[in-house]
């Protein structure tokens, strides 16, 4: 059964590992993405994640299906939404396969495709009181957002 969800409660990578474990799968690769305390040279205090929920979950499910088909793997992925503090888990992927090569490849594929295709956005709150939308296409990696109190 496909496990690809947006969640508003803490992501538990251990739970994802348990979901993909099976006697015939000898390798499990995991990726855990955390909220970082800096971005493009600016100190970050916290993040807010938002999404186009129905499409995001559908796209995550498609990515998981692609990885499972390509590498005979079992994959589980969760992405957190809402306000997160530095150090909290934003996303986790667990990929289990008969051997490590397939497990690593499936895990890498899922996180890279998630970042490329899944409609999720993040707003960064900086130490100087300003707020920005993360935009990988913008100079400096973000654009100003409403709601800041500083420069």
């Amino acid at each position: 059964m496909n496990v690809a969800h947006l969640v508003t409660t803490p992501v538990d990578a251990t739970r994802l590992v348990a979901r993909v474990s099976a006697p015939e799968r000898g390798g499990i690769a995991t990726f855990i993405g955390l909220v970082r305390n800096h971005h493009a040279g600016r100190a970050v205090l916290r993040l807010e994640y938002s999404a186009y929920g129905p499409m995001a979950e559908a796209e995550m499910a498609r990515i998981v299906e692609e990885a499972e088909r390509k590498w005979t793997a079992r994959v589980a992925v969760e992405h957190r939404l809402g306000a997160l503090d530095v150090g909290e888990v934003a996303v986790a992927v667990a990929a289990a396969a008969p051997h490590r090569d397939e497990a690593f490849a499936a895990c890498r594929y899922v996180i890279e495709e998630l970042k490329r295709r899944v409609p999720v956005w993040k707003k960064e709150h900086y130490a100087d009181g300003s707020v920005g939308w993360v935009d990988p296409t913008a100079p400096g990696g973000s654009v100003p957002a409403a709601g800041g109190t500083g420069a």
Partner: protein, 95 residues
């Protein structure tokens, strides 16, 4: 005139419209997360984007934004049908 671009004629039913969803900085700039827009025959995603860009704050939209029709990625040339859901997606930043 810009104020009329969202007007639905008396003969336009809800089924002859498209729901446009905005997210992130696009919703912030246009001060709304959704517009219900009357469709003309042959309207494409690009046509809708041009109309939205006429609204206050609409210049935040690029001419060719990322977009999705009925929850699947699509291009600006994609034709729209009554009842479609069109989402205009700011640059993605998940993970």
């Amino acid at each position: 005139m810009p104020g009329d671009i969202w007007a639905m004629s008396s003969t336009t039913s809800a089924a002859a419209s498209v729901s446009v969803l905005l997210f992130g900085r696009y919703a912030e700039a246009l001060r709304s997360e959704r517009f219900d827009l009357a469709l003309a025959p042959g309207d494409t995603v690009a046509d809708v984007v041009v109309r939205l860009r006429q609204l206050p704050g609409g210049d935040v939209l690029p001419l060719r934004p990322l977009c999705a029709r009925n929850q699947a990625h699509c291009g600006p040339e994609t034709a729209l049908a009554p009842g479609d859901e069109l989402a205009l997606l700011p640059p993605l930043a998940g993970g």
